[in-house]
């Protein structure tokens, strides 16, 4: 095949991929819809739609020679036509099969066949087999079925489509089966990378084109004016040369000649003036129109970036379905206001937090049908996600469930356990303050850590993201009635403005949106309360810290000390910037407040993935790089700095080196792997070959934590956990179960046995394990 054909094939396959994704998406959406629908009438309409999606996908696959996709669509389509004829009816098993097929099709579309593992190929074959068995047998004659179809199916338009598919099916079940297998082995190896794509409505693109054309006009006009200016400059230069000549003739020229020269100069000057006035007038006019054009263009571009919420939430129903299946829960998931448009960049930032909120609702909110019945609720739980436009360009997003509600006592207990608050402080908290503890990292009411939740990280992530978007997060909850999380954020991103401050020889940008006020105070206004400096602003007393101390800047060297600080010292005034982040408010001392800039924030490079207290950098007009400070980091650091000053010098330095971990695992490969991971992280590791060995070692040596496999000879992981938790001396030692058993029963057995964490090997990566261990010891 020559390269041109190859190119074409590649392009057509890319197009196919996009189309196929759409069909599969509608197919999965349709299935979820179908599951919700109760009346037979609307059900048959939906089955019809699903049938068409499958049929179109099949056609598309065939046209680009994707035999393996076609081979799945074929029996799937037949099964749907049986469903249409009511020869069989939908049941939960079928839904599961269809969803599985949907997932596999999507995988097939996105990966080239040659990269399929034998296992995947096997699953595919099994699915095809299953589909065949489910289809009522046998259809030998296409025409016969058409007559049957025409009498039974209301929708006549679909009939011709049906004929075609039936004929194909009727003649070739074995042929297709034969065709599949070689097709799976012979696919090309190349796998082109795909860029992210966005769908934009034509109505948004038209103004963009118009504006671009307008720019063209302006460009032409400016070109003309530039030529004019060049001409003026030439005239002036010529005139200057002549004037220089006249200078030499000062003594020899006659009065008449001088007068002539003078007249000539006047004319020239007048000409020049007219010329310049013309150019200036024009420039002034164009400047305003250019201003307008740029603003319009920017607005239109922002409109292009506004995408409907549906593009964000489309993955959620599937996720809810999957998780609730896993946990044996029944959940109705409703999305409201999905046609609202929000800036793409904000939507992207929202994906994670909303994901966490939904998981949270399923995991902690909604109970199993039995639990719910005991509380006199419908067995089927309900989660609603609503997007509502509010005034001032804000949008409110709420995620509510009709579940158990947040247990105040449990939150308090968890917070005390992780030492997020002290017992004294806990007593003084009001209800809102207690609920705000759930946003703190590490606080979880879950009895056990699993892959899904319980690590107490979900809500802190939500809270941080919302902070970053300059939004507000609130929670309302009532025991046994449910919980609602509300996020209030702007729909579009404002240009980033920052205040430039100087500190010793450094300069930093503080995001203007976090700056409440900038002020000068006298030293007398700073009052010390419990060893902290504070200041009164209106009714409030807020703490004051030195930004340089919080950032840990080196002391300024004497010789570089500039006059500015000396000046501020001598005048006795202290410059203070009051920052706000979410609910927190804090005042920071700086040397100098220099300027406000509109800035473009750039990320640090690849080596500096995340630096504490810094969210990025910006390049000033002078080319100088200035770090942009991360306000919520800064507040946390400030609390730490203040705490350190009070006494404890090196709390964060409790090195992992001294920590000793016992690893119980019968497989030598897994054992070595675990040992390596933990030792690399700086832990001291002792290994045991089974549960019994581990228990003996634990009795004779002291360990900070034990990591154990479940399936082991002599004493398995559950039994070992129970023995440890019942041992007087060992009961405090955290137990982490690492297992290949991924089932709810096992997780529950783990909880019963008293394990502190449960990590599944298939999802196992070292980051996950280390993170859990770090949290436990």
């Amino acid at each position: 095949m020559d390269t041109k054909d190859n190119e074409f094939l590649k392009r057509i396959q890319a197009t196919f991929r996009i189309e196929a994704e759409e069909h599969i998406k509608s197919f999965s959406d349709g299935l979820i819809e179908l599951e919700k629908t109760k009346t037979t009438e609307s059900q048959s309409g939906m089955i019809e739609t699903l049938f068409r999606e499958v049929h179109s996908l099949k056609g598309a696959a065939r046209s680009v020679g994707k035999k393996e996709i076609e081979s799945v669509c074929q029996p799937l389509e037949s099964l749907f036509s049986s469903l249409k004829r009511n020869e069989i009816t939908m049941n939960p098993g079928l839904f599961d099969l269809f969803h599985k097929i949907g997932e596999n099709l999507s995988r097939l579309v996105n990966s080239e066949g040659s990269q399929q593992t034998p296992v995947e190929r096997q699953t595919l074959r099994e699915m095809i087999q299953q589909l065949r068995q489910l289809t009522p047998e046998p259809i030998t004659n296409g025409t016969q079925d058409v007559s049957k179809l025409q009498s039974e199916v209301k929708s006549v338009e679909a009939a011709p489509v049906e004929v075609k598919s039936l004929e194909v099916k009727g003649e070739s079940p074995t042929n297709v089966a034969k065709a599949i297998e070689p097709a799976m082995d012979e696919l090309p190896v190349s796998k082109p990378a795909f860029a992210e794509m966005v769908r934009i409505s034509i109505s948004k693109l038209d103004p963009l084109l118009q504006q671009a054309e307008e720019f063209l006009q302006t460009k032409i006009a400016f070109n003309q004016q530039t030529s004019e200016l060049i001409q003026i400059l030439r005239d002036v230069e010529e005139w200057k040369t002549e004037t220089m000549k006249w200078r030499g003739r000062r003594s020899t020229a006659s009065v008449i000649q001088w007068n002539e020269w003078q007249d000539k100069n006047e004319v020239r000057l007048n000409n020049l003036e007219t010329h310049l006035v013309k150019v200036t007038r024009f420039m002034e006019k164009e400047r305003f129109s250019l201003d307008r054009q740029v603003t319009d263009h920017l607005d239109a571009m922002k409109q292009v970036l506004m995408l409907p919420v549906s593009s964000l939430v489309e993955a959620f129903p599937g996720m809810v379905r999957e998780i609730s299946r896993e946990q044996n829960k029944e959940i109705e998931f409703i999305i409201l206001g999905s046609d609202l448009e929000i800036d793409k960049r904000i939507l992207e930032e929202l994906k994670d937090p909303l994901n966490h909120l939904i998981r949270n609702s399923i995991d902690h909110g909604i109970g199993t049908p039995r639990e719910r019945e005991l509380q006199h609720k419908l067995p089927r739980g309900k989660i609603t996600m609503a997007f509502v436009a509010k005034e001032n360009g804000l949008v409110e997003i709420s995620v509510s469930d009709d579940g158990k509600g947040i247990d105040k006592e449990k939150v308090l207990k968890a917070a005390l356990k992780t030492e997020a608050i002290s017992p004294d402080a806990a007593e003084k908290l009001n209800e809102d303050e207690i609920f705000s503890l759930i946003y703190q990292s590490g606080v979880s009411t879950s009895a056990i850590i699993t892959d899904l939740s319980g690590r107490g990280l979900g809500l802190p992530i939500v809270s941080e993201k919302v902070d970053k978007l300059n939004g507000k997060l609130t929670v309302e909850t009532e025991k046994n009635f449910g919980t609602t999380f509300r996020i209030l954020i702007p729909m579009s991103l404002a240009a980033f403005r920052g205040i430039l401050v100087s500190l010793r020889e450094f300069e930093f940008i503080l995001p203007t949106m976090n700056v409440e006020r900038v002020m000068r105070v006298t030293p007398e206004e700073l009052k010390t309360v419990e060893n902290h400096e504070t200041i009164c602003i209106g009714e409030d007393v807020i703490s004051v810290v030195s930004l340089a101390d919080v950032l840990g800047l080196p002391e300024r060297r004497k010789e570089t000390s500039r006059s500015s600080s000396a000046e501020s010292q001598s005048s006795g005034n202290i410059r203070i910037v009051v920052l706000i982040s979410g609910e927190n408010r804090m005042a920071f001392k700086v040397d100098e407040v220099l300027d406000e800039h509109q800035v473009l924030v750039k990320g640090l490079g690849k080596l500096l993935k995340r630096v504490r207290n810094i969210s990025g950098v910006t390049i000033l007009g002078s080319g100088k790089i200035v770090p942009v400070l991360h306000i919520s980091d800064l507040m946390k650091s400030a609390v730490r700095t203040a705490g350190r000053k009070k006494g404890t010098q090196d709390e964060g330095k409790a090195s992992t080196k001294s920590r000793k971990i016992l690893v119980a695992e019968d497989s030598i490969t897994s054992r070595t792997l675990l040992k390596n991971i933990l030792e690399t992280a700086g832990y001291h590791v002792v290994t045991a070959v089974d549960g019994f060995d581990a228990f003996t070692r634990a009795k004779s040596e002291e360990f900070d934590l034990i990591v154990t496999d479940v399936d082991m000879p002599r004493l398995n992981g559950f039994e070992l956990t129970i023995k440890i938790k019942n041992d007087k001396k060992l009961s405090e030692m955290p137990v982490v179960l690492v297992t290949s058993l991924e089932s709810r029963e096992d997780r529950e057995r783990g909880i019963e046995a008293g394990a502190d964490a449960y990590i599944i090997k298939s999802k196992f990566d070292q980051g996950n394990l280390l993170e859990v261990i770090k949290k436990l010891i």
């Binding site: 490079g605 500096l608 810094i614 770090p627 946390k636």
Partner: protein
């Protein structure tokens, strides 16, 4: 022009037009950029060098490990600069007039390393690179490829670029 001059020039031209002797098996030789760090001579493979950039100013960042000198603006792009002297525990010399940054890159990573003086490129035969004498090795050993007869210490750009442990990823909790 005199004939003898013409002959001489001709001879020179022929000499210069000659293709440089082909270093046959490619893997036997590597191109390196030689530079000085605190009086010691180092070399690093040219394959991983994007450019040598003259550093006029840099911005130090608070809260980063000491081996991160700071960030520089390379034609509008932000780039981190590593101070190998800190990584290798070499005596400090301070940033003088002649400071250059050697920009290293591969598919995943890109950063600059600070050099006191950059001497230029040269070709080194792989067989001439010996293991580092025991006494010299120590901190930074994992980044050393070896040392030549001329006591040029060859750094492994690849090991530097792929070392996950020098990546800063720190959040305030």
């Amino acid at each position: 022009m005199k004939t003898e001059n013409r002959v001489l020039l001709k001879k020179r031209a022929v000499e210069m037009a000659k293709e440089p002797e082909l270093k046959t098996e490619g893997s036997e030789y590597i191109g390196i950029i030689a530079f000085t760090l605190s009086e010691e001579n180092y070399g690093i493979e040219t394959d991983f060098v994007r450019e040598v950039y003259h550093i006029k100013e840099f911005t130090a960042l608070p809260g980063v490990p000491s081996y991160i000198l700071g960030v520089i603006n390379v034609r509008g792009k932000i780039l981190e600069v590593i101070d190998l002297k800190k990584l290798f525990n070499l005596p400090e010399k301070g940033i003088g007039e002649l400071n250059k940054v050697i920009i290293l890159h591969n598919d995943q990573m890109e950063f600059g390393i600070l050099a006191d003086v950059v001497h230029g490129t040269q070709i080194v035969a792989v067989k001439d690179i010996r293991a580092v004498p025991y006494t010299v090795s120590g901190i930074g050993e994992e980044y050393l490829m070896g040392v030549t007869k001329e006591r040029l210490i060859i750094l492994s750009a690849e090991n530097l670029l792929t070392d996950k442990s020098i990546i800063v990823n720190e959040e305030v909790i």
